[in-house]
């Protein structure tokens, strides 16, 4: 099954946030940088799950850039133990729009975003723990903090 290309991902995120984004594919996952976020996508019509696992700092850069925050403000808000609703809502929207590139041939529906992988739907958790196919990327965002991004598939 064809996997989403790094150029398709770079184009989608660049268009979304209005800053140049580069995705470069790697053989292995990037070392984790701080807290991780896990996003579950239901693939139709197979009803199986794909999972995006990425650094919170990277996804926060996408979300913050989308709503016009500076890199310094994004860092402050991510470090603040009190949840920032506007950043979280923007992050949710970014990962919803990312459903467009999660699967090349099938429809992907964003089911949810989790800081704790044990909270993933069971089928999505299985994909995370034992993926049949994994694509790993190093992401660089012009002017913002980048990081690691992995797309995990059950087939």
């Amino acid at each position: 099954m064809p996997e989403p290309s790094s150029s398709a991902m770079a184009t989608l995120f660049s268009d979304l946030i209005g800053h140049h984004v580069n995705f470069s594919e790697r053989i292995d996952a990037m070392p984790e940088h701080g807290e991780q976020i896990y996003c579950a996508y239901l693939i139709k019509p197979m009803e199986s799950f794909r999972v995006i696992k990425a650094d919170l700092s990277l996804l926060s850069s996408f979300a913050g850039a989308l709503i016009g925050l500076s890199p310094a403000t994004i860092k402050e808000r991510v470090a603040d133990p009190k949840p920032d609703e506007s950043l979280r809502d923007a992050l949710h929207e970014v990962m919803n729009i990312a459903s467009r590139i999660v699967s090349v041939d099938h429809r992907a529906v964003f089911e949810g975003m989790y800081g704790d992988p044990s909270k993933l739907p069971p089928a999505a958790r299985s994909t995370l723990l034992d993926p049949c196919n994994s694509s790993h990327f190093k992401v660089i965002i012009e002017g913002f903090e980048g990081g690691g991004f992995s797309l995990l598939a059950p087939f």
Binding site: S86, A90, E93
Partner: protein, 122 residues
């Protein structure tokens, strides 16, 4: 009332607002709703010239909202702003009475091209 904007994401409502302003429609009056059910409630008191709606929303999806509107003979021009981009979804939207689909992520030109035939030049 010029525009009813229906989306469960506050971020997306903000981005659509911004794109509309950047497209030159600075004086538009905009009413917001969080899903189809909320929008139907708002439509009891407002008569927009255009409805812009997301597709995937809790409580009532955009396509169910559109079907309900048309079943009530409400012919207000209706456009989707959605991450659903397949041909199947476009056909479903148009066959149910939508005028256009703007696919996320969108740019100002796409918003302007969609709004101009209905609202005139910005």
């Amino acid at each position: 009332m010029d525009l009813l904007l229906v989306d469960d994401s506050r971020t997306m409502r903000l981005l659509v607002h911004r794109a509309i302003r950047q497209a030159g429609y600075r004086g538009l009056t905009v009413c917001e709703a969080e899903n189809g059910a909320d929008a139907l409630e708002k439509l009891k008191s407002v008569k927009p010239k255009l409805i812009l709606s997301d597709w995937n929303m809790p409580e009532m999806s955009g396509i169910d909202f559109l079907r309900k509107l048309r079943a009530e003979n409400n012919l207000t021009p209706f456009g989707f702003i959605t991450s659903e981009s397949s041909k199947k979804f476009k056909e479903l939207a148009i066959s149910n009475g939508a005028s256009f689909i703007i696919v996320k992520p969108f740019n100002v030109d796409e918003v302007q091209d969609a709004l101009e035939p209905i609202l005139g030049e910005g």
